[in-house]
């Protein structure tokens, strides 16, 4: 499967408090309202700028902090198809995969803001169509790949009823 979209660049250590600030805690059961505040303290009006299919391209340790799964959830709701980062925090990585949102670990310093990207999830290749670079990304563990293939942990469990490793 090939994903195509534009890169939105972020720096290192973007926390879950940046992604969905704690002051909107009371909106967690109202996801359409909550998602309006995605990354608002980092990029003003990010939600109105990001288009379905675009990519978040981050530095190291993306998604550190709280376990709130609402962070990858509102990213997915905004139409972001994958997160590319030098590294991510442990809980965030697992949460994103559980929601069927791919997280690809690669050298994002070779991608610039606004670059047009093509991601081949099967071959493990990211093509930067703007500067011509080609990047590979780290292997996703088998167990997570299966969860991703089913579209997340809920559909996976509905299908298999249990974990398969």
């Amino acid at each position: 499967m090939i994903l195509r979209g534009k890169a939105f660049k972020f720096g290192d250590n973007i926390s879950t408090d940046h992604i969905i600030p704690g002051r909107w805690f009371h909106l967690r059961s109202n996801l359409p309202e909550l998602s309006k505040h995605l990354l608002e303290d980092v990029v003003p009006a990010f939600v109105s700028r990001v288009k379905p299919g675009d990519f978040i391209v981050a530095g190291k340790n993306f998604g550190l902090g709280s376990s709130r799964e609402h962070a990858p959830l509102v990213i997915k709701m905004a139409g972001v198809r994958a997160i590319l980062a030098k590294s991510t925090a442990r809980i965030f990585f697992r949460n994103a995969i559980n929601l069927g949102l791919p997280v690809l670990i690669c050298d994002t310093s070779q991608i610039d803001e606004g670059d047009k990207l093509e991601v081949d999830l099967i071959k493990g290749i990211i093509k930067d169509c703007t500067n011509g670079n080609q990047l590979s990304f780290g292997r996703i563990p088998e167990v997570m790949l299966r969860i991703l293939e089913e579209g997340g942990l809920v559909p996976y469990i509905r299908k298999y009823g249990d974990f398969r490793i």
């Binding site: 002051r23 550190l64 376990s67 799964e69 590294s87 809920v154 469990i157 490793i165």
Partner: protein
């Protein structure tokens, strides 16, 4: 080859021979959610087609982040969680009972268990020798339903601590120092395993402080051996029978060893906006602080309030610095009333808020104003954490917090001892 604490626990819980890097399916001894992550967990639980939890008495729901609720949306979330507990028989901890991690330590966690919580600071129970780690709502929903989860067995870092803390230096200073050393992602995916003379002398309250913050270096767990101190703590909590000793093997393989001389440590503070941005408290003298917050799953226990009360006795908070105190649990609040700490703190000008997460999570009970700075005993100082992205959070020990409340600027507590 010998095993680390993580490898030992996950071998037992997966019924196999688990080594770092292996993927295992492990039995889950306790799965819990709080009011911020619970509603989504319940929705995912139901979307997966489940109606029953695998172990009702080992499934817990904590109403602690909004305690009590400041908004009708959160009141409705609480209703949803109470109804789920009633329907499934899961344990319910009402508003005012305390922070989930403190209550897990007081009432539920035992050595060598696997504990999963929909909260990143679930690592706290590692102080009791439990493989305790935070996950998201969906993972916890499935763990509640199946009573098991999949885990990658982490590689371990050995943190060897020797020597005695100097006067005015505490476990909080040690863990802030370690995070400064490792960096906010320096232990991502790893098990931080603590050992050495200082660790074996350390009280459970201090162990919980350190394990709580293991996640701030990215770690999956922060593990302590289960020893005489663990046994004593379990006895005081009425769970002496659940004690079992647990030590790593002498020939266990560690990815690296970090040695810390406790005697060389000084009061340490994390500066805005990341926990690894550490400095010595004495070097920050002159930094004006408008709010001091003492509480949380990191440092809201009886010993912490005792330290604060001893510094604040016969003293007053600075007129430009408000002092907010949130005991970590009802038990802590009751014991600190009995010990006279609450009286002392009130006389010093403190405001006592209900047991719970309180000001730490930016929901209520101490949201900062634009340009304001807070010295907090919490575990996290990210931008916006306390409800306002235009404010600044410094982290320190209860002693540093109390000294700062007295002078109105960041103060090394040794100046006032």
């Amino acid at each position: 080859m010998g095993k680390t604490l993580a490898e030992k626990i996950l071998s037992q819980k997966s019924g196999g021979d688990a080594h770092a890097g292996d993927i295992v399916i492990a039995k889950v001894d306790l799965a819990f959610v709080q009011d911020g992550t619970g509603p989504l967990a319940i929705r995912q639980f139901e979307a997966s087609g489940f109606e029953k939890v695998a172990q009702p008495k080992r499934t817990a729901i904590f109403l602690d982040h909004a305690s009590p609720s400041p908004a009708r949306e959160l009141s409705n979330d609480h209703t949803l969680l109470r109804n789920f507990a009633r329907k499934t028989g899961a344990l319910l901890f009402e508003v005012g009972e305390g922070v989930c991690h403190q209550l897990v330590a007081e009432s539920l966690a035992n050595p060598a268990e696997v504990i999963l919580g929909a909260d990143s600071h679930t690592t706290t129970a590692g102080g009791l020798g439990a493989f305790a780690t935070g996950m998201g709502s969906t993972d916890i929903a499935i763990a509640m339903a199946l009573g098991k989860t999949w885990l990658r067995v982490p590689e371990s870092f050995k943190v060897l601590v020797e020597g005695h803390f100097g006067k005015g230096v505490y476990a909080k200073d040690l863990i802030l120092h370690l995070i400064g050393l490792l960096g906010a992602d320096g232990a991502t995916y790893k098990s931080l395993e603590f050992c050495g003379e200082t660790i074996s002398q350390m009280t459970m309250s201090e162990r919980l402080t350190i394990a709580n913050m293991a996640v701030e270096a990215g770690a999956k767990v922060g593990l302590f051996p289960s020893d005489e101190k663990t046994r004593e703590y379990l006895i005081t909590q009425g769970r002496g029978k659940r004690y079992r000793p647990l030590q790593p093997d002498d020939d266990a393989a560690y990815e690296q060893t970090i040695k810390i001389d406790a005697a060389a440590l000084e009061p340490t503070v994390a500066m805005p906006h990341s926990v690894d941005n550490t400095a010595l408290a004495r070097k920050l003298k002159g930094t004006k602080i408008q709010q001091v917050f003492i509480g949380t799953c990191t440092n809201g226990r009886l010993e912490d309030l005792a330290i604060a009360a001893s510094l604040l006795k016969s003293r007053k908070r600075h007129p430009d610095t408000r002092l907010i105190i949130a005991p970590a649990s009802r038990k802590v609040l009751q014991a600190s009333i009995e010990a006279g700490y609450i009286q002392t703190l009130l006389e010093a000008g403190a405001l006592i808020t209900p047991p719970g997460c309180a000001a730490c999570v930016g929901v209520h009970q101490g949201v900062l104003g634009d340009g304001e700075s807070c010295l907090s005993t919490a575990n996290r100082n990210f931008q916006g954490r306390m409800g306002n992205p235009n404010s600044f959070i410094y982290l320190g020990s209860p002693a540093t917090a109390a000294a700062t409340a007295i002078t109105g600027e960041i103060t090394d507590p040794r100046e006032l001892l």
